[in-house]
Symmetry: none
Amino acid sequence: MTRNKLKEVAMRLFGEKGYDGTALSEIAKEVGVKTPAIYAFYENKEDLFMTVFREAMQSYNTFIQEVSEEQKELNARESLYRVLSRQYQFYKKSPEPNLFVLRYVLFPPSFLKETIEDAFLHSDETLTKAIEGLIEQGIREGVMKDQSVQPLVDAFLNLMDGLSMQYFYYTSKELYERKLNNAFEIFWNGACS
Amino acid sequence: MTRNKLKEVAMRLFGEKGYDGTALSEIAKEVGVKTPAIYAFYENKEDLFMTVFREAMQSYNTFIQEVSEEQKELNARESLYRVLSRQYQFYKKSPEPNLFVLRYVLFPPSFLKETIEDAFLHSDETLTKAIEGLIEQGIREGVMKDQSVQPLVDAFLNLMDGLSMQYFYYTSKELYERKLNNAFEIFWNGACS
Amino acid sequence: MTRNKLKEVAMRLFGEKGYDGTALSEIAKEVGVKTPAIYAFYENKEDLFMTVFREAMQSYNTFIQEVSEEQKELNARESLYRVLSRQYQFYKKSPEPNLFVLRYVLFPPSFLKETIEDAFLHSDETLTKAIEGLIEQGIREGVMKDQSVQPLVDAFLNLMDGLSMQYFYYTSKELYERKLNNAFEIFWNGACS
Amino acid sequence: MTRNKLKEVAMRLFGEKGYDGTALSEIAKEVGVKTPAIYAFYENKEDLFMTVFREAMQSYNTFIQEVSEEQKELNARESLYRVLSRQYQFYKKSPEPNLFVLRYVLFPPSFLKETIEDAFLHSDETLTKAIEGLIEQGIREGVMKDQSVQPLVDAFLNLMDGLSMQYFYYTSKELYERKLNNAFEIFWNGACS
DNA sequence: CATGAATGAGCCTTCATTCAT
DNA sequence: AATGAATGAAGGCTCATTCAT
């Protein structure tokens, strides 16, 4: 119980205030426990952080995995749009792990720069493959004209990255949804013309 | 002299390791001075940080200003592409202030969350206006079909955001340039079809 | 245990060397503990100081309270003399809190000038009332001639104040006792003639 | 010019906030000069303090000297009362040096405990002698009855000490004057009966 | 005379961590 | 599983002082 509450609070605080900006005492206090209690569950601050990091990363990977898999019944356009809206749903449902991942992928604390780069590159590849699949499907379906896949993949991944960033600094829901739809529409036009 | 060296080193270290992760002693050491010397030039850590922040922000605004202005002789496509390549040049030429801005716009230390939001919203508006201008030019030129401007602006700004993020986590120059060109190409296609 | 030793040592050092002249490290060292240990018991230097101040003030108030109360069997002269000798006994028995009170009533650190003034005014009133009572008793007894009470109260309180000061800068016990007795004798003569 | 302004400001600040509580930078700032300028006139903080101390002490001694001397035309009662009112005038006219003397006679910084004790004992003797003279005059005049001088001297000096303290913690002028007059009246009664 | 720049020493405080209970 | 007490290390900051200008 405490173990999990610690993880949750740590995820939020590390995500909001950074590794160095978050004191173990703050985490403990929010959980309603004294600082040394943390050491009953985690070896030290780094261990707690890494545990949280792994969990956030896994949550992110699960999202990517789901995106990769259930592309059965839908056509390419629907599938690609679905990727974006799933990403959006996912951010809305659990912003903490996503803010966490975004933060530490962009700005890892020095002691795990490498670890994070490796972990993230792996996810990136999986995602890339999945998007490739969808693009190829689109071409097979004939809605996209027959062209090289790479540019479309690059463009779509860029779209996703842009939307990730924007999610965390545009607070307005309506604004974000408009941007999502507009950006996707232009992408889709560009892909089909 | 020392004053400026402090600013430079602080910009880099704050950008790389965060506000809490950067000790004044580190900054001082790199400059070749003892910690208390900092206080001859800056009131305290926050003041040094804010000074650096203002400078980085101004550097960013200068970039936006330039983008807004010299769109005379070029046609719309060239102008829009030029925005991206200028952004790229700008990142390459002075990555420090840009990493700094990116970091603290996304993850401001709590004591200046508001300040940063205000400052950034202002830049965002200026940039939006400039892009609007270019899109309208494109429509006037007849290369883009006559359509509402908003979607194209949203898409282009998203493109820029995505590229910003990618600049700082894809180290390879070639990879980045490919992504930039591909994403722009799809955007342009989408805008003209 | 440590908590109380800290209070004792702090009382003495703050009394002897002043708030700014006393480093927490000194206090800690005398107690046989490292400086940060203090923070397990007190929020900060100010808190430790205030705790000590409250205790010293309470000790002083207890003295005044006792003086106010047990004036039953004795006649006025004995009672008044007793006040002085109790004050003397009290200083001898616990010089630390008294030196502390004297110091900070006369020279409060700016951050608690008001607090101290309030606290002390209250004690002063209680003491004044008690002395008034004794003087009135003296008049009722017929040993003091029937006169207005105020001048006698003023004179007696002045006597006490003078003796307070002198206690802390005349080190010799005999000298002090002589002064006490002589000053009281003249006062008593003055009150009865 | 600056030299004297430094002394004045130092006297006031050292008197109000104590040796350790007063930074050279504060003194310099009030004088309108930067800290290192102080070292053009005084060797160091201690030297400035000592200079100020000597001056304050001298001012105090001057007062005592005056009291000792001009007791020509007046009778004993007038002379003694005059001592008190001069002391009062003196405090009113220049409270700074007097607060200073009071503070550091009671609570000397450790590095000049001895110096101060010596200096003050000397003043004390002079004052004692002067008061003795006045008392003897009173006896010669026949207004005081023929008695040993010591008790009267002790009582009168105690009176002065009490009034010194009270001057600095009772802010009201009227209150203070009442106390002065009342205390003196009782003393005089006691001395004459 | 005065100042800007710099420093060594030291202070208050926080923090991660340990250990006995 | 949890806590109170304690600590080493470090951080931000102030201060008296020096020195070249």
